[in-house]
């Protein structure tokens, strides 16, 4: 896994420029973009870890988030546990679920190339979606918490406060992760495996354990995110599905395995999206801008002489 400051620095410069322009034009778009973008980044991060370190393309990524949301929902409905508190049990639950999925399936397609992984996880995602449909039907479910629609007023400027939690959580997870990679033995092992799995094996790192750890951790981060999202979203079997695509987009934009890049890419795309949505009459083009920015960045960063 690369933690490369240099590659992302110009992206950062562009982002900074956009932030200033947008901030002058419509500050709320900027804040919405920051909040949404942080959420995107938070969800994309585990995918980037799995892809960057294990080289696994996980199409069931969004479905793990969905499972996390339902787990948190069940805890709320049956045991009245507040979603924000349920983040911890759901984290543990998803760590275990991730471990099970890893042992039963992922372990067997490590190093097989992206295609079998893609199809395998596509199959897993169908199975998870169908299971949820059978048990909970397609009817959306919500958890109402008054704090989820709270807001703060500064002068005559009113802005939602709950989604700052996304921003906070995103930065917290990113910082903790980086600290972990740098300061702990396991983190160093993860780093080494990400760089060169065979070499890591030779120097005595248990690569298999590292893979298991990474898959469980990334699945756990989705659980954490799910608890925080729950009061703000509707959950239904396909809730998480679109996030797989968004996450892939961010990972590709940031460059494989770049942690800083994910956060920047998420916020950039979030702001781009929010800005277009704020222009009266042109909201329908926000997806185009989202993908346009994505394509432009990928092209600029990865074009090869052909």
């Amino acid at each position: 896994m690369k933690i490369n400051q240099k590659k992302t620095s110009w992206l950062f410069a562009i982002l900074f420029f956009i932030v200033i322009i947008v901030g002058i034009w419509d500050a709320s778009a900027l804040i919405y973009g920051l909040q949404r973008g942080s959420l995107y980044a938070l969800i994309a991060l585990p995918l980037a870890m799995v892809l960057g370190i294990m080289d696994i393309l996980n199409l069931a990524h969004g479905e793990l988030l969905t499972v996390g949301l339902y787990a948190s929902y069940v805890l709320f409905i049956n045991f009245s546990i507040d979603p924000l508190i349920s983040t911890l049990p759901v984290f543990i639950f998803l760590v275990i679920l991730g471990g099970i999925i890893y042992f039963l399936t992922i372990k067997k397609v490590l190093g097989e190339g992206h295609l079998p992984q893609l199809l395998l996880t596509f199959g897993i995602s169908i199975m998870l979606i169908e299971l949820i449909k059978i048990y909970w039907t397609t009817r959306p479910r919500n958890v109402y918490r008054a704090y989820a629609s709270s807001s703060i007023t500064i002068g005559n400027f009113r802005i939602g406060s709950y989604e700052f939690l996304y921003v906070f959580l995103a930065f917290a997870v990113f910082l903790l992760l980086k600290l972990f990679l740098k300061k702990t033995r396991l983190g160093q092992a993860v780093y080494a495996v990400g760089q060169n799995p065979r070499g890591a094996e030779i120097v005595g790192i248990n690569v298999d354990l590292v893979y298991l750890f990474i898959f469980c951790l990334s699945s756990g981060i989705l659980g954490l995110t799910a608890g925080v999202m729950l009061p703000r979203v509707s959950i239904f079997p396909l809730t998480g599905n679109p996030f797989s695509l968004i996450s892939f987009a961010l990972v590709a934009m940031a460059g494989m395995g770049s942690i800083n890049g994910i956060l920047l890419a998420g916020i950039t795309l979030g702001i781009a999206e929010a800005v277009i949505q704020a222009i009266p009459g042109y909201g329908g083009w926000s997806d185009l801008v989202f993908f346009g920015v994505l394509i432009a960045v990928i092209m600029a960063k990865n074009i090869q002489e052909a």
Binding site: S149, T239, Q277
Partner: protein, 414 residues
Amino acid sequence: MKKLSVVGIIFLLVVITLSLSFQIRADEDPIKIGAVNPLGDITGRQSTNAMELAVKELNEAGGLLGRPVELIVIDSELRPEKGASAIERLATSDEVDFFVGGMASSVHLAQIPTLKRYEKITVWIGAASHAIEEAVGPDEDWYFHLHPWDYQQGASYAYGWKDIEEKHPEVQIDSLFLAYEEGAFGTDSYESYQEYFESAQEGEGPYADLMEDFSGVSFVSAAHGGGDYRAMLRQAMNYDPDLFIWAGYDADAVPMLSQVREIGFSPPIYAGSPPGWPEDFGDSPLAENVVFFGMWAKSLNEVSPVAQHFWDEYIAMHDDEPVTYFAPLGYTNIHFLAKGVENAGTLEKEAVIESLREIEYDSPVGTTLKISPSRIISNQGFSEQKIIQWQDGVQEIIWPFDVATSEIIYPYEW
């Protein structure tokens, strides 16, 4: 003597064959109704349940024309080509007599060419897009569509709002803001409102005197990965409409209401037209005084014995409450068709079509079903929706007044 015995034998043979054939017709040859519904979706699942209930009732009452009724259901998987091949299967392998179903305009559009090939009597309860009507065309007398078309729904709300304005002078609607999801469902709504607005400016159409000003903004539905409505809501707040309507899915309901509070938006009427509501929506304080357009609500049980009957029987059979109006519509679908056959006294196509056109069926959605032409097709069923409001966690019908269960609470406040 010889002659007599020959005649006798022939007579015997005729009697035997006749009775045998009658026997076969009565016991082994049911009237088959083929249904194509999306079984993975709550709407398709519940409407299928309701269809099964209706068939059970028919058979318990002795069947149709003395024959049992059989319902054959195939999952459309919400995929157009699967929906079309389901029709094909029902027509050829199962040799059904009638087609019924089903949800999703895209699936139904793909079924139209196949349906046209078989020209069997078809009664459809979903798929509201006017594109369906265009695809069917004016000459297909075998096609019956029960759900109001998108443009009919919009018109019916106008009549409702006018009636409400008249009855409650404090309600004053001049400007309208439509928040619509970017997909086919929302965009169709927007386009028909746009049309109404244009004719209203010339003093014509249902929205004349009702819509003096109109604006609309799209959003990405949570069902398609969106769910951030704040940019759209801010535009709505700046516009400050008398009536705020959102055209999206049930998944949008709660997040949008939550964001409405976040940004401090409070229109006098907050209305929506989702196909259903989320689980336990009524228990949420967000639901209070939200208005919506729909076909049916549980509270209809108070005013309609048919609705009450349907409700009780459905729960008795499936141990589950109907939550989408596609359940009573599915029930209506079968009974309407059965009544047509019964009145015709035959399965002969022309006769059944004739009698279906004459029927007045008192349906569990609280309205009498009566066929009349729409813009293009000649056999359109319902043309109106109801205006319903969440009050104390219950869906109360506030219009049409003849089935109303409560008065409107105005203005919307939180």
